[in-house]
């Protein structure tokens, strides 16, 4: 039996007005996240994975001239049609976010305890003493040693890994239904990365929330995610369970990505596989399938018309004209 869908994104597109005209950063992105699952959102820079996550919380509204299309259904409401006031209640309360740069996401002039308590008092209306108690509890939950002491420390007194733990504590303080983690370990060393990933996995099991993990690192995806969506140039090109993605990738881009990562174990070829060409700019999106100019299997059909994201097996969906059945 499958758990309920807590987030369902349907045909989401986000466009920015810039000096060089309107840029459609993501185009027709559809996916869902169920309770208790970790969805990995992978892709290279500029593929729109971060735009997708920030659109869910509508974080661009104030800073940019932005236009959304499609629907983002969360707890029965369409977030794109929510007034800003209502949206503020969703942010940090129902949906929480952890960013890559923990140092600049924390306010340097307040203690970490203060910052956790802030969230609790705003969203849950807690009293000061009660919030402090909860803050200590949260710090303990994310594995910070002697939390009673740490709660009164400032961000600069903590190491990078500890800061990211604090960020996670803040994010989880209000028991969100959905946690969006945007490259949470990219700035950290491998040994610390391993700890933080273990923590996210552990908390996901304990608290049974949905997690959307945005990363460029396929190895991280392989270790923690249950389902994966691969993005390329503002579109999802493949979506499947984690084993399918690695064992039986359907899209040539997914296949290329997986083959081009240096592996820590197993056979080592002399040369790494490389995907030809480079990611085009958003202003120069190719006709037809967006990956066609770099694709080894591209045909006339690919260059002429964009394929849809279609199911090829039970849970696997692929955006490719050649995706019927086994990969070449």
């Amino acid at each position: 039996m499958e758990a309920e869908k807590i987030l369902e994104v349907k045909g989401l597109s986000t466009s920015f007005r810039t000096e060089r005209g309107v840029m459609k950063a993501i185009d027709g992105v559809s996916f869902h996240i169920r309770r208790g699952e970790i969805l990995g959102m992978v892709g290279e820079s500029g593929c729109g994975k971060s735009v997708t996550s920030q659109s869910i919380l509508r974080l661009y509204d104030e800073k940019y001239q932005v236009k959304y299309g499609g629907e983002i259904l969360f707890a029965g409401k369409d977030l794109l049609r929510l007034p800003e006031k209502e949206m503020q209640k969703v942010r940090g309360n129902d949906v929480a976010m952890v960013f890559q740069d923990a140092l600049s996401s924390l306010n340097p002039v307040f203690t970490v305890g203060h910052q956790i308590m802030d969230t609790l008092r705003i969203h849950q209306g807690m009293k000061k003493a009660q919030a402090r108690e909860k803050a200590v509890e949260m710090l303990r939950l994310v594995g910070i040693p002697s939390p009673e002491k740490r709660v009164d420390q400032y961000p600069h007194e903590l190491s990078g890994g500890m800061r990211q733990r604090v960020m996670i504590a803040i994010a989880l303080a209000c028991q969100p239904k959905l946690l969006i983690a945007d490259e949470p370990t990219t700035a950290l060393d491998v040994t610390i990365q391993a700890q933080i990933m273990d923590l996210i996995l552990d908390l996901n099991r304990k608290l049974h929330m949905g997690v959307m993990l945005i990363t460029h690192d396929l190895s991280v995806v392989a270790e923690v995610c249950s389902r994966v969506a691969v993005m390329y140039l503002g579109q999802i090109v493949e979506e499947a369970g984690v084993n399918d993605i690695f064992d039986n990738p359907g899209h040539p881009y997914t296949r290329g990505l997986i083959r081009s990562i240096p592996r820590i174990e197993g056979e080592r070829e002399k040369r790494l596989y490389q995907i030809a060409g480079t990611v085009p700019m958003l202003s120069q999106i190719p006709q037809g399938c967006r990956f066609a100019p770099r694709c080894p299997r591209a045909t006339e059909a690919c260059r002429a018309q964009m394929p849809d994201l279609v199911p090829v097996s039970g849970t696997q969906r692929v955006r490719c004209w050649h995706a019927d059945g086994a990969p070449a």
Binding site: S159, D189, T191, A194, S219, A222, L257, P262
Partner: protein, 337 residues
């Protein structure tokens, strides 16, 4: 096999301390970024230097090519000690040793065209005649690193990260050096671009017989690029071995931790991780004895008192750890040569 290969660079007991000054410029303490590292780089090989943030790998790379002067120790290139060269001699020596930097965004002057950046390299080292000859050399090197001739007139900000890193590589290559220190050259790049740059580095090495010192925090990248690997922790080289040996049989507890933490790109393998306790100690007051003893799962009494020396435990495999040291001999460190 390695014994008869020519040594391009030999470093002995290199130290790099950054002084911390108190009032009136008095030195009150030192950040011991590199604390007594000895290693040799052999012609045509890639020596991978791996470690976490703050282990001193980048500082060591810069110190080895005298971008920042060593506090102590000797660095020999072509039989000459870099630490004893005059500034003028050193400027000439720069032709032999070059560097590729990590951040492709800040390593190119935003106000210079790519062509001018490369021409200036030749001008500084007085290579080739003015005008036509230098220009031809620049065009040749642009082609070598996979850039097109029209990129000559472009500014850095018009390029993607991967293309900028190609320019950075061209800048190092154009002087035709023996040794290139690559400081995290692919860390800032996307996966698909990363593989392109790694392959380019490997192709150029084969074609020109280059020697690389490849600095990276990424064990998987090191595995693909390097012939030999040195693992650093808190300013010390703790283990050095041929790549396959190190990945198959890491001997230093820290190397084992590092390897076990690397995520595997295979969803079916569930690895047993060794969790490292505590934080990295400060390099201002590193722990006495073995620098790793405060976090080492196998720490013994002797580890607190005595700093283990690098010792060969197998041919070409050196470790600085009391678990593997023979009681009898405290040999001088050899260089795995």
């Amino acid at each position: 096999m390695q014994a008869n290969r020519e040594v391009v660079l030999r470093a002995e007991n290199v130290k790099k301390y950054f002084p911390i000054r108190g009032t009136l410029g008095r030195v009150v303490n030192n950040v011991k970024a590199v604390d007594g590292v000895s290693l040799s780089l052999l012609r045509g090989e890639t020596y991978g230097l791996v470690g976490e943030t703050g282990c001193g790998k980048s500082t060591l790379g810069r110190t080895l090519i005298h971008l920042t002067p060593a506090t102590a120790g000797s660095i020999t290139v072509e039989g000459r000690d870099l630490t004893k060269l005059t500034p003028k001699e050193m400027r000439k020596m720069r032709r032999r040793v070059q560097m590729v930097f990590q951040d492709p965004y800040t390593s190119l002057d935003p106000r210079q065209r790519i062509g001018d950046i490369l021409l200036e390299m030749l001008e500084i080292q007085k290579i080739g005649g003015a005008g036509g000859e230098r220009r031809a050399l620049v065009m040749e090197i642009l082609d070598k690193v996979g850039l097109r001739p029209e990129h000559f007139y472009r500014f850095a900000h018009e390029f993607s990260g991967g293309q900028r890193q190609r320019v950075g590589l061209a800048r190092a290559l154009i002087l035709n050096p023996d040794l290139i220190v690559c400081d995290e050259p692919v860390s800032a790049l996307d996966v698909s671009v990363q593989s392109q740059i790694i392959n380019l580095l490997l192709d150029l090495q084969e074609e020109r017989g280059l020697t690389y010192l490849f600095i990276s925090h990424d064990m998987s990248v090191i595995r693909y690029t390097s012939n030999r690997v040195g693992v650093m922790y808190l300013g010390h080289l703790v283990e050095e071995a041929a790549t396959d040996d190190l990945f198959a049989l890491p001997m230093h507890p820290y190397s084992q931790v590092l390897l076990s933490a690397v995520p595997s790109a295979n969803p079916h393998t569930k690895k047993q991780r060794i969790v490292l306790e505590g934080d990295l100690p400060s390099p201002i007051n590193p722990p006495g004895g073995c620098v790793f003893h405060t976090r080492c799962p196998y720490a013994m009494g002797v580890c607190e008192k005595e700093c283990p020396q690098m010792q060969a435990v197998m041919p070409g495999h050196r470790v600085a750890c009391h678990l593997h040291s023979q009681q009898s001999a405290k040999e001088e460190p050899n260089h795995g040569v």
